[in-house]
Amino acid sequence: MATFATVDLVKYLCTCEKKFPICRLYLCKHCLKLRCIDCVQHEVDTPYCPNCLEIMPAQEAKLKKNRCSNCFDCPVCGHTLMTRASGHISPNPEDPNKSVTKKTYYLACGFCRWNTRDINMLDQTVATGNWPMLENPHVKRINNLLENYKLMAQVEKADRERKKYVKRRSHLYLQDKFNLSPSVMKRKGLSSFSSLSLKEGDKTIEDLEPSVPVESFDPLPNDYYTQPAALEKTTKLVHRLSVPEFQPEDVSKLHPINKHLIMKKSLRCRECEHNLSKSDFNPCSIKFKIQLTALHWVPEVRIMTPSTFTYNKETLVTLTMSNPSVFNTTVTLSQIENETDVDYCTAKVELPKKELVLASRDEPSMHVYEDSSQAHEFKDDPKLIVFRKGNKIGFVVKVTPVVPQGDVKICFLLKHEFRNTTVAALQSESKEPEIKWLEHKVYLCLGTI
């Protein structure tokens, strides 16, 4: 389980020179290089609501500001709100002697007991939809401003187009050529906004009412000086900031929050732009359409048992290596030349010189192999290969720490065969998959001295 528990002991070097545990790496089958989370491109695949698991098309999500229209979060604790039904007995309009039960619905939080009746929101007659939405009180003004600025931007753009034509004939040309532009223009970073201000004579100016200045403000109500702060009636900052446009200060102004969507993400190789990971379209499915995690393609090295080390003394360490591929794979280990970085290499290591052959991964028969028969089959050297079970071998390396204290770290180059099944399948069906040799640098932290 070392892959999942202490993943940081064995790390592989990604193509971008960062070290990651193998379970966090991807192998691009087209570039045949390792990729990590930092050197892939993240893309939005499908936005969906985490509560009702309904896919929302990107366009609709855009319009609804990435929020689900049917699911709500509690404004106090963030828990999902439940729709509650309650019966109402009201007289039947046709026959006054009989009464009918009318169902109404309200939203309640099962965790903190907040409900929409607390804020005097009217119960609804239908279970979903129809809940009143808050609207930013400044929408009209902001839209006015935006319209106005858009008109100005058009004028500015047209201006620039025109300048492009007349440039050569005007004196501006000389200014440009001899760099005689006024010194104000030098401050490009600042002056580039000045053109957006209102100019006299622009016809757009009439449309926009100027902002009304305020001369004096009301003093605080007397309650502030005579009453203790009403903590139970005041919202916390988190509550306010979760609805940036409204930021209610009073608990009674809290409003159910439409649930924020989450997304399925796909990863893409930056170099060849092929997908490295793409999940199934359906939010309920946890399957992947494409999943090129390195775990499925690169032999995985693990440390078998912890060992004790002494300074300058050789210790035998058993490592295991397992083959994820469905073919027998040959692996060679070699020293990394010129590894001078002492941070990652604090011991001398003697590696098996012979090629190691890993048996193929055969899911159904994985647990029925007997050790002896297999060892025979592959003609293993018992001094080197401690055991062999299915697609996994245990092999011995000799480690001599060269520092008196601290962590014992070794590194080596792992070279393995790789049969590119996907590309081969594309080319022709009869041909055997092409064999490529891939090299990875592996860094191990074996323990302390």
Partner: protein
Amino acid sequence: MPHFEGLLGDEPRIIILDIGSAYTKCGLAGDTGPRCIIPSETKNPRNQQTSKIWDYSSTDELYEHLKELLYTLISRYLLVTPKDRRVVVIESLLCPTDFRDTLARVLFKHFEVASILFAPSHLLSLMTLGTKTGLVLDVGYQESFVVPVYEGIPILKGWRTIPLASKAIHSRIKSQLLEHGTVSTPEQKHQPVASMPDILTDELLEDIKVCCCFVTEYSRGQQIQEVTMRGGHANKLPPPPPDTDYQIDGGSVLNISGRIREHTCEVLFEQDNDETSIATLLMDAIVACPIDTRKDLASNILVTGGTSMMPGFYHRLQLELSHLLKKPCYAQQLGIKRFLFHKAPAKENYTAWLGGALLGALETLPSKSLSRDVYLQKGKLPDWCCIDSDFLLEDKNSKS
């Protein structure tokens, strides 16, 4: 269906980003408010440690943190693919160069955005009013910062800043609580807070400020300052507001005295030895400006920044200003009779963001921003404070 996103609808919308020293505001252009306001910090998923974005020791560390923060914003809140999108970054004029450079590096190299426009927050705030002249005061977390803007050009001679803002209020609450505060735990009542200073986390201080404190009236404020600053007798203090019991986790109750509630925000207005406060900041900024601009500036004051949302802030600021006007040092120089304030069509803490959202929705944006190609070619950013960087934008203009 990400492949059709560009074909079906309009252009991909522009990301508007404002990384403040306390909170980060992020959203898309054309919206009326940001999609999210989250603390400017990142959490390490391994050891659950949070690290503030602005507390960085090296640019490499900053790079990693910014990458994390932007990843959260983009994939958790905006749900967009950042590649080939345009970005508007709202920055303070005092933003350190290495922060800008690192942010640009993250956006261009890691997220591969198409272009970035770095826009000064004060100018953007004015855009929300539709005017071109104004005195913009930003009371944020680290500092209060005022910039006079005339006809769309900032009067750089007139900018003033003072380290009085949220952070100062927080440290005042903390020191007051450590000095006088008491905590009642289930075991023992009325313990001094100083015996367990660990409970005073930044979040707690912030919440106390938001829920309990307010900016008091001018006359009461003067009485308080008479006692606390100039050593007047304590019986001259106005009757303090009632204490508040503040529940902390674990059944403890922190007693927030009325004095703390009322006195802490005085830190913004009390004039220390240099006789400076937020109000004098505005006055000094006006004095530094050319005489013919002063009247316009004084009648177009815009206050932004989350700290100005404290209850009573505007009332107090306005009275402070009109009293300062009577002081001989200002009365003779200024020749202004009154101050007029504007209210932006947004909450104060995202006013600058809204300006960015307006700017980002315009079609002139591409010609004003720095494109990825030019950045990769030249490897540096244009900045208002260095003249030689003009070529970056001019090159682009001639191409477009």
